[in-house]
C-alpha cells in the first residue's frame, strides 16, 4: 500500500537536490570543456602568457610521454 503523499517539505527538498545536481553537472561539463580546449590547440590563446605557458607545459608533457 502506498504511503501518504509527500509533504511540501519533501517536494522542496527534491527541487533543491535536483537543482544542486544540475549545478554540479554544469560544473563538471565546464571543467571538461575547458580541459579539452587547454589540452588542444593553444593558437586561440593570444596575449595570455599564463594560459600559453599552461598549454606549452601540457604540450611538452605529451611529447615526453610519446617519447
Amino acid at each position: 500500500m502506498a504511503m501518504k503523499r509527500d509533504h511540501e517539505l519533501h517536494d522542496r527538498r527534491r527541487g533543491r537536490n535536483l537543482g544542486v545536481l544540475a549545478l554540479l553537472l554544469g560544473f563538471v561539463a565546464m571543467l571538461f570543456f575547458v580541459t579539452i580546449v587547454k589540452l588542444g590547440d593553444t593558437s586561440g590563446v593570444i596575449g595570455n602568457p599564463s594560459a600559453g605557458q599552461g598549454g606549452a607545459w601540457i604540450d611538452g608533457f605529451l611529447k615526453w610521454v610519446r617519447g
Binding site: 500500500m1 504511503m3 501518504k4 509527500d6 509533504h7 511540501e8 517539505l9 519533501h10 522542496r12 527538498r13 527541487g15 533543491r16 537543482g19 544542486v20 565546464m30 570543456f33 575547458v34 580546449v37 587547454k38 586561440g44 590563446v45 593570444i46 596575449g47 595570455n48 602568457p49 599564463s50 594560459a51
Partner: protein
C-alpha cells in the same frame, strides 16, 4: 498509518530552496558585474578561447555572488530593519547566517582558484582582492563607520571589467584602469541620489550615509563634484584600445544627461524628489549605455578591423 512528515516536521527553517541561495548572491548586482565584465572581455585585445573566456566570466559572476552572500551574512541585523532589505533570505529566516557564511566562503575559494587556473593567476588574485575588499573593507569596516563608505566601497564594484581584461590579456592597462574609474566615480552620485530619497532607512539603522551625517546640502554638493570628475573618464576610455567612436558619442550624451540632473540635485530639493529620482534612474542607464557602447565598438572592430586610432 501516519507519516511523520505531515505532523512533526515544521516547514521553513533550514530548508531553503535553491532560489533562496540564489537571492543570497545578489542577482541584480551579479547582472551588472557580468555585463561590465563582458564588456571588459570583449574589448580586450586578443584573448582566450571562447570556452575558457565563458568559464572565466562564470567565475567572476560566482565570485561577485559569493561576496554578496558574505555581505548579507554580516549585515543581517540591519537588513532586517530596513524596508528595502527586510525580505532578503536571512531576515526572513529562509537561510541561516551560518549557511550564508559557508556558501560565501566556499564559493569565494572555488571561484578564485578556478579563475586562476582557467585564465591566469593575476585575474584570480584580482578577484580574491575584490571579494576581500567588498566583504571585509566595505561591509565589515567602512559601511558602518564613515560617510565615505560607498566612495571607497565602490571600488569593489569597479573591479569586474579590470578582472575580465586581466583574464584575457594577463595584464592591467590604461583601458582597464579607465573602465575601473568609470564605475568607481559613478558610484557616489548613484548611491547618494538614492540615499537622498531613501534617507529614513539608513538613518534608522545607524548607517552613516552622507545625507544622514553631513546633511543634504553637503551631499548635493558632493554629488555634483563626483559627477564633474566622472565625466572625463568615459571620454578618455573612448580613446583607448577598448573604446571607439560609439563610446565617444554615447559618453558625451550620457555625460550631458548625468550633469544636467546632478546640477538640478545640487540646486536643492525638488518636489517629490523628482530630480533625485531622475538622477538615480539616469545613472543606471549611464553605466549600461557606456559599457554597451564599449561592446558595440568591439563588435564593429571585430567586423571591420582597426578603424579608430589609438590615442592613449
Amino acid at each position: 498509518m501516519t507519516d511523520l512528515s505531515e505532523s512533526m516536521i515544521d516547514a521553513r527553517t533550514g530548508e531553503a530552496e535553491l532560489g533562496d541561495y540564489y537571492a543570497l548572491m545578489k542577482p541584480r548586482v551579479m547582472q551588472l558585474v557580468v555585463f561590465t565584465a563582458l564588456a571588459g572581455m570583449v574589448a580586450a585585445p586578443g584573448g582566450l578561447h571562447p570556452v575558457v573566456a565563458l568559464a572565466s566570466l562564470v567565475c567572476i559572476a560566482v565570485g561577485a555572488g559569493a561576496s554578496g552572500a558574505l555581505n548579507m551574512w554580516w549585515d543581517a541585523d540591519i537588513d532586517a530593519e530596513m524596508d528595502r532589505t527586510n525580505s532578503r533570505p536571512i531576515p526572513t529566516g529562509k537561510v541561516t547566517g551560518g549557511e550564508a557564511l559557508g556558501l560565501g566562503i566556499g564559493l569565494s575559494i572555488l571561484s578564485v582558484m578556478m579563475l586562476g587556473v582557467f585564465a591566469n593567476p593575476l585575474a584570480g588574485a584580482l578577484l580574491a582582492f575584490t571579494i576581500f575588499f567588498y566583504a571585509v573593507i566595505y561591509s565589515m569596516w567602512l559601511k558602518r563607520s564613515t560617510p565615505q563608505n560607498i566612495v571607497i566601497g565602490g571600488a569593489a564594484g569597479a573591479f569586474p571589467p579590470m578582472i575580465a581584461w586581466a583574464s584575457m590579456t594577463g595584464e592591467v592597462s590604461t583601458a582597464s584602469i579607465l573602465m575601473f574609474a568609470v564605475i568607481f566615480l559613478w558610484t557616489p552620485p548613484h548611491f547618494w541620489a538614492l540615499a537622498l530619497f531613501r534617507n529614513d532607512d539608513y538613518a534608522r539603522v545607524g548607517v552613516p550615509m552622507m545625507p544622514v551625517v553631513a546633511g543634504e546640502t553637503a551631499t548635493r554638493r558632493q554629488i555634483w563634484f563626483y559627477t564633474l570628475i566622472l565625466a572625463p573618464a568615459p571620454i578618455a576610455l573612448a580613446f583607448t584600445s577598448a573604446g571607439g567612436p560609439v563610446t565617444l558619442v554615447v559618453s558625451l550624451y550620457a555625460n550631458y544627461l548625468m550633469l544636467r540632473w546632478a546640477r538640478q540635485v545640487a540646486r536643492g530639493a525638488s518636489p517629490d524628489f523628482r530630480a533625485e529620482k531622475k538622477l538615480f534612474g539616469t545613472s543606471i542607464i549611464y553605466l549600461f549605455a557606456i559599457f554597451g557602447a564599449v561592446i558595440a565598438d568591439a563588435v564593429i572592430r571585430l567586423a571591420t578591423g582597426p578603424y579608430w586610432p589609438l590615442w592613449i
